[in-house]
Amino acid sequence: MRYVKPDSFENAAQLLFDSTGITRILAGGTDVLVQMKAEMVEPDLLIDLKHLSGMREITHENGGFRIGAAVSGAELGEHAGVNALWPGVVEGMELIGSTQVQGRATMVGNLCNGSPAADSVPAMVTAGAIARIHGPDGARDIPVYEVPTGPGKTSLARGEFITSIYLPARPENASDAYLRFIPRTEMDIAVSSAAVSLELDSKGICTEAKVAIGAVAPTVRLVDDASAALIGTSLDDDAITKLVAAVEAACSPIDDKRGTIAFRTKTAGVLAKRAAKIAYARAGGTS
């Protein structure tokens, strides 16, 4: 195995494009090195991009934040601005692993590893986060929602990699939340999860809503019917009942030792309900 630190994004793209064997990008390594240890993946080439310009920076941009692909969970969690604007995104990332794992793990690694249960992904999706992709033809931007295509798979083409995630600006009276179910309180993989992002008007009526669920389908899912159930309401009981029904209808989970289909479906609905109420309260709504 070779370990390479390219000196520019252009050279990184070229190296990735030209590589013939198994190649991985080494961000925090908390998936890659575990997979190597387990001999699940034996890369011929590891490419480290953490030293390249902007990769470890969080910058304010057009009222939102651009988060470099190598920013760790711990660094994200310490950033007051991102915490204030997108608390649900930060709490999703901070649920990953232990303090030690947080010192290394990145949102982009979580996204590109392609686990359906990846904890940082649902809230990035409800945030409308945009991934900046660099490749042999230069840079392009796509919604984070379009990155995962199935377990362990992404839509990135040969030679492409992510350099940053952009979390957009949002109006006053807007917030988000993320919750997952695990059988213990720390250090486990989500059995189901839900993220909700809301915008309210001055009277506390929901004008915009996004609901995403994790670990209940091959990829994260945005549930449009759940958004529709919340928009125009102040999250009254009727709206919440419709939200839960829409979320349950959107689940198509696997049945395994960690959770049955029925359990994953039921908990996804409950988590969406609770996350919606937390996001609503954070956005300044009172019900």
């Binding site: 195995m1 370990y3 390594g29 090195l33 590891l46 480290d48 232990s98 794992v101």
Partner: protein, 158 residues
């Protein structure tokens, strides 16, 4: 496989070593540098016995590659005592018997030190969450949490 020449600073000393690209920092510390304080409990990030700080961040050294540490600042358990003078956390762990076999102890001490640098007056809950990635199979966590709190109080001068 190509051997890489790496220069880092470990516990304040400039240190050079050779390693293969797939060698973890934990393997480098233990097998190349003879620093066997960090332990391998799992090798996969679950147990925290290999905890060190890398550029001031608490990490599992089993999930860092040696080649990634070029130019980095690393702190290990070997650098915790000042000569014969144990760090307060080390002394209190002994006094309060917050260890049995001791395999988890270097990792827990490094993790606890890193917590107290960030938060000198944590609640029990904060200590428990911070140490959630440090597993102990013998002592039970109550004594460990209490020892961290006793040391924290002493370090605050309380």
């Amino acid at each position: 496989m190509k051997t890489n020449h790496i220069q880092t600073t470990i516990n304040g000393d400039v240190t050079e070593f050779l390693c293969n690209a797939d060698e973890s920092l934990l393997d480098v510390l233990r097998d190349r540098l003879g620093m066997t304080g960090a332990k391998e409990g799992c090798g996969t990030g679950d147990c925290g016995a290999c905890s060190v700080t890398l550029n001031g961040r608490l990490v599992c050294s089993c999930l860092v590659l040696g080649v990634e540490t070029e130019g980095a600042e690393i702190q290990t358990i070997e650098g915790m005592a000042n000569g014969d003078n144990l760090h307060t956390l080390q002394r209190v762990f002994l006094e309060e018997a917050a260890l049995q076999c001791g395999i988890c102890t270097p990792g827990i001490l490094i993790a606890a030190k890193s917590l107290l640098e960030k938060n000198p007056n944590p609640t029990d809950t904060e200590v428990r969450y911070w140490l959630a990635g440090n597993l102990c199979r013998c002592t039970g966590y109550d004594k460990i949490i209490k020892a961290v709190q006793t040391a924290a109080a002493e370090m605050r001068g309380a």
